[in-house]
Symmetry: none
Subunit: 220 residues, 4 copies
DNA sequence: GATGAATGAGCGTTCATTCAT
DNA sequence: TATGAATGAACGCTCATTCAT
């Protein structure tokens, strides 16, 4: 071996397998998100997460301590992501009817594009939000959506478009629930009612039904 | 730990729980329902179910074969129960508005009184309804609710009360989802929005909001 | 195969590998005693104990729950054994000098023949007797030795042979300690003092030294 | 758990404990002494030692190579300490009876004040003095005590005070064992005999018993 | 119909140790 | 001299399941 040759500075790909804590952390979170959202907290396997991430299992403990803490980190990331997406909504800048449409549509499409968010929330609720309650991070990420929706409803009422007396939190939960339940439960619903709710056509129908339902209620 | 320990030589009291297959079966299903609904399919433990039922673990295998089949039996029982409750609704015998009120209220209260139904469905959906699809029994238990709702909507439309063009399945999913999502996700929602949705007052508000929402949409 | 032939009642060796809980329990205790006494509580390996016993590792948990409980069971057995051996001493039936000789000699030879007793006690003391304190069994096994020794000393004093004012517990601890320390520490002592204390001749010298020491003190 | 977690980017305070090899080495030895004497060789954890010392785990390897070598260093330090204390005894300068008293008392108090010495020796004996045998350092530290005791016994005999024919090594082992066994085993002894041997009063009684025992034997 | 005894596979976690800088 | 990142092996323990009676 050319023993005197200067060691060639390794190209920036050294991080793929190691020595890049940020990337390693990220890889673990991603692999864990897949595993937890597919199999639930109880069904997920630490070995499988390590294998998915292509990392030594010991590293998961080095970075996160234990399975539950890793689950919490996955949840935190999931909330960071949706909060970040909510930022682009800008409901204050369109007319109230359009704002409601946009909110319904955003919620629907976000859940469709992030099915892991649904199953992670279901797992967390199965455990009575115990990880979320421990999380400082999630408390910091409080959503501005309820306040924004409050202003939208108020504008709509002021313009004589919307009915009065609508609790923005109740409405928000309804809008979220209309999408969430359909998507979360479509496997059982499809089986029970013998209609495949996972088809694109069914999904389009769902969105228009939900929009009609919410606006049909709000508009006086 | 102790659940597994060898027992002291027991006196000849094999008849304590009795050689009563029906009762034994029932005891297993109930214990399994608690365990699965509390911990999910992956988190449930066969040992724990046997302990809850006060029965020898081997009996679970004698009656149900394995864990997944037991889960399926639990699901089947859950569907039998809700179908049986739905029987008392008699929506065809009241006026359309009252029928809708009754359906919303029934759904809400059934979920409240059977929280295990919610978590079992979430578990089953996590596994993409695989057990449900295998179940002959659940297919036999098809719900008459969509047909009934169809007739209610038709009557409402004929009387000039309700809007036209409402898909009864979509509406049913919405009614179910409004309750289901709130109850299923109230732990995370409470934590995220800092408002305790598990309090009686919050629950009363939810029911009136849902009723208003659905009727506000339907009534023209 | 002679399908109608009566199944030959299995000879009494069916218990070697299984289905004999008493023998299984015994085999585990024996294997665990070897392992714990050789490597200490922290150094002992559950896998190794199972292998030594020729049993499935799971069985150790079935019978004893966990490592610490198994260690406790080993300790209890060790105390049962020494108590049982003490029973044969019958110090009340010989003259006081012979009784003291016999006690010193018994203690010495018991420790020599049961080296595991020494290391087990050392391990238990390292952990501040935490397992022993938990053990109901050991409390039941209280030794009659202190009372017996008290009577021996009293007899010796009455006969004008022994000095007065000897606390039997202190003397018992001294007699035990003279043997125990030598045997427990002979590896380091041999190394430090460059004299092999594990040789038969050294052992014989030790016994006569101890007997002389104790009787030299007692006799007036 | 947290001991292993990745640290937040630390400010440039590498000098907190300082680039002081002597002090670092000392800190490691002290932390390791606590850990090994508390938990034994098998129960001690490298991580815990590093945490106790407030140092990076890697440093322990830098200075000592591996766990066993560190244990050996701890042992060597323990022997250095006791040899150093023995230096102050000056048994040759007092009368024989006083010399024996002093030796018994010194041994007793040294063990009381250095409980780690007892458990370290027990650990080393569990492993059959394997580390001690490897240690050049400990061989260099040979104790003058046996020779000194030999002279004391000889003086006593010459003065007609002490009996003849006493092996100084046997006597030394007896003196050490009387203290060592009591202190090493007081947890189990207290539990078994239902008398708290760790109380100051019990300790005072022990010292006077031992002195009486040894002198009662020696004095003719 | 019912049970205590037994098992192979795999779980989450931790170990002492090494790498790269 | 010092450290954060990384690892293979193994740990104590538990899993769903089956055997033998």
């Amino acid at each position: 071996m050319a023993e005197d040759a200067p060691k060639e500075t390794p190209p920036d790909t050294a991080a793929v397998t190691g020595r890049n804590p940020v990337r390693t952390r990220q890889a673990i979170i991603e692999a864990a998100t897949e595993e937890f959202s597919t199999l639930g907290l109880g069904g997920a396997r630490i070995d499988a997460i390590a294998a998915r991430a292509g990392l030594n299992k010991r590293l998961l403990y080095y970075y996160f301590g234990n399975k539950e803490a890793l689950f919490q980190a996955v949840l935190e990331r999931a909330y960071e992501n949706i909060r970040s997406a909510e930022h682009g909504l800008q409901l204050d800048e369109v007319d109230p009817v359009e704002a409601i449409r946009r909110l319904v549509s955003f919620t629907w499409h976000y859940y469709i594009q992030h099915p892991e968010f649904i199953t992670l929330l279901n797992s967390e609720n199965l455990h009575q939000a115990s990880h979320l309650k421990k999380s400082q991070r999630i408390r910091e990420l409080n959503s501005p959506l309820i306040d924004t929706l409050h202003r939208v409803l108020e504008r709509g009422r002021a313009e004589g478009l919307f009915r009065a007396g609508v609790d923005p939190l109740q409405l928000y939960i309804s809008i979220a629930g209309l999408s969430f339940f359909y998507l979360s439960n479509r496997h059982t619903l499809s089986a029970v009612f013998g209609r495949d709710l996972r088809q694109p056509k069914a999904e389009a129908e769902r969105l228009s039904h939900m929009t009609e339902l919410v606006l049909g209620y709000l508009l006086r």
